[in-house]
Amino acid sequence: MIRVSYILWLAFFMALIIALFQVKYTVQQVGERRDATIQQIDETKERVRKLQLEWEQLNQPLRLTKLSKDFLIDFQEGVAGSIAPVEQIPVRPDNLRPVAFLTIEEPEQAFTAEALNSPDNLHDVGSLRPIHAPDLLNALISQQNTVVLSE
């Protein structure tokens, strides 16, 4: 009986020792991974920092002004009247309110009767009323993929 208990104890302690060594080496590995991760994070943070600075450099107001003049036609600075309380902004008249988008993925199919009648091509954004493709035929003459409809 005593021998059995000794063996059990021995096995128990051996198991504990193995587990402890296992944990120790796992911890070492985790530590190494952690160090590598920390280094990677530091490097990434430094890269992010440099990218932020590059972004700031690219967003110099003088440069943006020049780009705006060159590429944003009719884009103007805010003027007196650009800022107003929400309640002063006039409501869009109902007859100008968009009620649906018609989107046709393949332009070459746009003008076939099948495409126009396919419900898959219609996306009612406001659910204000059902859309019937034949009603949109005139709008499609503009040959745009997406047409905003007004009531």
């Binding site: 302690f13 504990l16 402890l20 932020q52 650009s82 800022i83």
Partner: protein, 571 residues
């Protein structure tokens, strides 16, 4: 086999076994054996318990770390890496009020040599010449030839390509180290505010110098009150005005009228913060905070405020402005002479020196000095830049000085101080020192120091509104916004006299004038009269139009609504 005789002195645990010495007698071996076995067994169990306890503790700790602590969140070390703390070795970032970066540090490589380890000096020098064509190679050669040295900088601030090229030389005597490098993404635009550093990133000018110690500690970013967008508009308009009037310099300041936060501080010409050593003194001079000027008639606002506050003058009264006014050996004249009486509003709108002088004489020299001092005009500004100077004013402040100071000659202060004082006069009468540091908008505003009553402040605003509507400030009347202000044109002092050909043209105003949110000062140094201004180079012709354009462009950015004119009022 001898009988076992336990020695009580060696049985440390004997007493705990509950056995007396009488029970273990010689001649009773069975008992002695049982006793010894009991002791051994007890020791073994005790050892087992200790080991078990230790291992159990380790097991519990492992389970705790792996399961419970993990469930609570990431380990502290991960938090440390991901969220900070601040890099104590990295100089803090400087940001504008919305978080745009004005200055920050990045690590860049520097190449250095250990001359004692260089294998082939000639080929090394040849390689370095190819990589750095601008390098003074003969000087480097002499330093690298000194084998007693162990460290010689080859080049600092390498690009990645240069670093790779030096590496490719394969010279064991060449090596690299990481160094911090200060970057100013907004360049010249904020140079007079941010300042600059030396090559070891120690602050030498601007907020970089003022906050040098705290920035070196690498704490949280320093957030300034400056708004880069506003700064750009102000700088652009000031530069356009300076160019148009062929002026050598100018300054403009936009302040929050209530908090005294500086939203824009421009001094032109500005400088390249990466290369301050190569810039001229004119570029490095901060005309908004360091240079002091006699700003002329804008001082009449302070004269008016002192006169109204002291009760020396009533807003509805009239003063005789018939000139010239003889004070001691000086004759005071007006730019627009008028014989007879003039009401206070017209005195201000016509910018009458005689009217201002008579108001100041009623206030008295002591009260005038005390009042200007309360506005911070006689002591150095508390603004957080290195470049601050002490105002100059007469040591002997008598009647003559009272008169000249009433219309802006005799006290020489920085434009920032004048704008700061003006904010106190129009914001309801509370002086708060100008600051370049963004205040916490949720924190209560400090009490400041009351310098005039709200009633006096309202009267001054009423007069300033009139000056723009009907007087010399007409060119500052911004489209869609109600502005009020005062022009100033001052001859510059030169060799003990005033030079009539060298002027300072200023416009100082607030908007919206009925409830001032912002104060703007525009100053142009020595503008030259142009054809379009009918030969004038006064504050009204030079600075007021710039003021108008700046207000029209910045007011929408600042979220100010357009003023709808009341019925019967012209827009």
């Amino acid at each position: 086999m001898t009988a076992y005789t336990p020695d009580p002195s060696t049985h440390v645990l004997g007493a705990n076994l509950g056995q007396s010495q009488e029970q273990i007698r010689p001649g009773n071996p069975a008992k002695a054996t049982r006793h010894a076995r009991a002791i051994s067994s007890f020791r073994l169990w005790l050892l087992g318990v200790v080991f078990f306890g230790l291992f159990a503790w380790i097991g519990v700790k492992i389970v705790h770390l792996a399961v419970i602590a993990e469930a609570r969140g990431p380990l502290k070390v991960i938090e440390y890496v991901l969220d900070g703390p601040a890099d104590e070795h990295r100089r803090s970032r400087v940001e504008d009020r919305v978080g745009r970066i004005l200055a920050d540090n990045v690590y860049r490589k520097a190449a250095y040599a250990n001359p004692s380890k260089i294998q082939d000096l000639d080929s090394t020098l040849a390689g370095l010449t190819e990589i750095f064509p601008d390098m003074n190679i003969s000087e480097l050669a002499s330093r690298l030839s000194d084998r007693n040295r162990s460290f010689v900088y080859v080049r600092r601030g390498l690009t990645p390509q240069q670093e790779q090229a030096v590496w490719n030389l394969g010279e064991p005597g060449l090596n690299f180290l990481s160094e911090q490098h200060r970057v100013y993404p907004k360049g010249n635009l904020t140079s007079h505010v941010v300042g600059y550093n030396d090559i070891d990133t120690a602050g030498l000018a601007g907020v970089e110098a003022y906050f040098d110690k705290s920035l070196q500690q690498g704490v949280a970013p320093l957030q300034l009150s400056i708004d880069v967008g506003i700064q750009h508009v102000v700088a652009e308009e000031l530069a356009a005005t300076i160019n148009h009037f062929e002026a050598p310099a100018g300054a403009a300041i936009l302040l929050d009228a209530n908090t005294s936060e500086v939203l824009s501080l421009v001094s032109l010409p500005d400088f390249d913060p990466y290369n301050p050593a190569s810039q001229s003194q004119a570029q490095l001079r901060n005309r908004a905070t360091y240079e002091t000027y006699e700003l002329g008639s804008v001082f009449k606002v302070f004269t008016l405020a002192a006169a109204l506050e002291s009760g020396a003058v009533q807003l509805d009264e009239e003063i005789d402005v018939t000139g010239p006014l003889q004070i001691s050996r000086f004759k005071i004249k007006d730019f627009h002479p008028h014989n007879g009486k003039m009401d206070i509003k017209t005195i201000m709108s016509e910018s009458s020196n005689i009217g201002a002088a008579k108001m100041a004489l009623r206030v008295g020299n002591r009260a005038q000095k005390r009042f200007l001092n309360s506005l911070g005009l006689l002591t150095p500004s508390e603004i957080e830049v290195q470049e601050v100077s002490t105002p100059r004013y007469p040591g002997n402040w008598k009647k003559t000085q009272t008169v000249t100071i009433s219309y802006g000659h005799g006290v020489s202060t920085s434009p920032l101080q004048v704008a700061n004082a003006f904010a106190a006069v129009v914001n309801g009468g509370v002086y708060r020192p100008a600051t370049l540091v963004k205040r916490d908008p949720s924190a209560p505003l400090n009490d400041g120091e009351r310098v005039i009553s709200e009633r006096t402040s309202a009267m001054v605003r009423d007069v300033l509104d009139y000056v723009v509507k009907e007087g010399t400030g007409g060119n500052a009347d911004a489209e869609g916004y109600r502005v009020g202000g005062k022009t100033g044109t001052a001859d510059k002092p030169s060799r003990g006299a005033y030079n009539e050909d060298a002027r300072i043209a200023t416009f100082l105003g607030a908007f919206p004038i009925d409830d001032p949110k912002y104060v703007l000062l525009v100053m142009v140094d020595e503008p030259i009269p142009q054809e379009g201004t009918f030969g004038f180079a006064t504050g009204g012709w030079v600075a007021a139009p710039a003021f108008k354009r700046i207000v029209e462009r910045t007011a929408p950015m600042l979220g100010l609504e357009k003023v709808v004119p009341a019925e019967g009022e012209s827009d």
